[in-house]
Amino acid sequence: MPGGWAEEELVMISALEHYSYCPRQCALIHVEHVYDENLYTLRGTRAHTRAHDENESGSEEGVRIERGMPLFSERLGLIGKSDIVEFGPDETPFPIEYKVGPRKENHHDDLQLCAQALCLEEMFGGGVPAGAVFHHSSRRRREVVFTEGLRRETEEAVGRVREMILASEVPPPVADARCPKCSLFDACMPFTLAQMDVKAGLARLFDPER
């Protein structure tokens, strides 16, 4: 564990993706520890288990591959685990994030990948200019360049996630197009809560004729 941070102040890299998808989703997972396994997440976990399997690390065509490497940043109080990091001939780390299931908005992946890069830069003391997202279903790699803007955004997100977790805050549901695709839909009840008219419900409850 990086020094200087209390255990509860550390932010998990995966929380950034959750946060950028939906702040409530992030809070349900990282504050409330709600985690509904549905088929989608189960499949995701299995593919990830493979990607994380350290025994499969090795070398291919002059590129060294590390799987499931623990990542951390003292400066940002960030921890996590990589899916894959490739080290080219010049030893520059190149993080690759595995994605299973339907493709989501790319930007959430970028944030998570950038957080990995910030950790790798600190751990290996050199620049990490780019990484990639690998889509399991299409077997395609999409390269992501870590621009100044993306770096700034990632660091800000880390701060906001930390605040939310420390305050045990759970924001209200977004109740929009993101929800039907969200694995926490059942636990969250976004539309129910958004549409629930408590006053009317109570009035009806105590009225024998309604």
């Binding site: 409330e32 709600v34 759970v170 129910t192 408590v198 109570l202 409850l205 105590f206 024998p208």
Partner: protein
């Protein structure tokens, strides 16, 4: 062995359940008689002498699936409990609500109102269907009384008052319960509720069905990370699933009582489905239990419109939904807990 809304009920005596890769297999005398992919099972209830392999238990524990053992007669015996997980903040909110007088009181009050309202719906329906004038009059009177109870629940200002309203409403309800039995009245005489042990057929039936609903309510609480033992309406007592019992109150009339009445009135059960025990108690026979379980399962599949959600849901999911609504209320996502009161 019958999967329903992913709860599996097993009551074949002497059978053996084991895990084969990702499939659950049921054997009787070493012969395979049924199998279900584990993926389709959320929980399991086994009755009496049903053996479960250790590896199957381990898997259920690991996955947080529920596994409940009942006596052959359907009395709750024990339950598998995996590692304590869940939402510690939710539990804290659940406990804190107890010490905030208004929070606990409002939850209890709304639950009682839900129960009274639902009881009244059952009584009103029976009054419409009554063939005998005296029955109809008595049922209508009870319905009037329950309407007054409902308003009284709305005016109640303390937990004691709420419990008082519930006690009186319950007494009136069970006073007319026998009048809702239309068929086979000689066999199904009902003179008030008795338990431990049930001393007539209607009470035996009520007890058995309540045990099933109660098991579902415990599982529903656990499923959303609530402590089933820590309730608001029911006083805390060690070993008593007070919150599950709270949750059950509003569901008794809708899920259990209506089922009991229709089993009798549609003559799906007869006097022969029960056996007297020495000393004056009454039990369901094994074929009788089979009939009840099948009816319970198909009742759980019946779709109903949930007034709060405004959406059609299978009755069997209602305990889980209500547990969620309660959890969300305790975590501050909604201003009140609204019970399930179908029209």
């Amino acid at each position: 062995m019958k999967p329903l809304l992913n709860t599996l009920y097993v009551q074949a005596q002497g059978s053996y359940l084991r895990l084969d890769h990702e499939t659950l297999k049921l054997e009787v005398e070493r012969k395979l008689v049924g199998q279900v992919p584990l993926q389709h099972i959320g929980g399991m209830v086994v009755f009496g002498n049903v053996m479960v392999s250790p590896f199957l238990m381990h898997r259920f524990g690991d996955d947080g699936r529920s596994l409940v053992w009942m006596s052959q007669a359907g009395r709750f015996k024990c339950r598998l409990s995996g590692p304590v997980t869940g939402n510690v903040l939710l539990r804290k909110a659940q406990y804190t609500a107890q010490s905030e007088p208004t929070a606990a009181f409002h939850i209890a009050r709304n639950i009682v109102a839900g129960k009274v309202k639902n009881s009244r719906t059952v009584v009103q329906r029976a009054a419409r269907e009554a063939e005998d004038a005296a029955d109809r009059v008595a049922l209508e009177e009870a319905s009037t009384f329950l309407a007054a109870s409902l308003r009284a629940a709305g005016r109640a200002r303390s937990l004691d008052e709420v419990r008082g309203v519930e006690g009186r409403a319950g007494r009136v309800y069970f006073e007319v319960f026998g009048r809702m039995v239309r068929m086979n009245r000689d066999a199904f005489v009902f003179n008030g509720r008795n338990r431990r042990p049930p001393r007539d057929r209607v009470n035996a039936l009520l007890s058995f069905v309540y045990a099933l609903v109660r098991g579902d309510c415990v599982a529903a609480c656990e499923g959303v990370g609530l402590d089933p033992q820590f309730g608001y309406l029911h006083a805390l007592r060690s070993g008593r699933p007070s919150l599950a019992l709270d949750l059950m109150e509003e569901l008794r009339p809708v899920i259990a009582d209506r089922l009991v009445l229709s089993l009798i009135n549609r003559q799906q059960l007869s006097g022969r489905d029960f056996e007297p025990r020495p000393g004056g108690s009454v039990n369901l026979t094994e074929p009788g239990r089979k009939t009840v379980l099948a009816a319970y399962q198909s009742r759980k599949q019946k779709e109903t419109t949930h007034p709060v959600i405004g959406q059609s849901v299978p009755l069997g999911l209602v305990p889980h939904l209500q547990a969620r609504l309660l959890a969300r209320h305790l975590r501050g996502d909604s201003a009140a807990y609204l019970p399930f009161t179908p029209k």
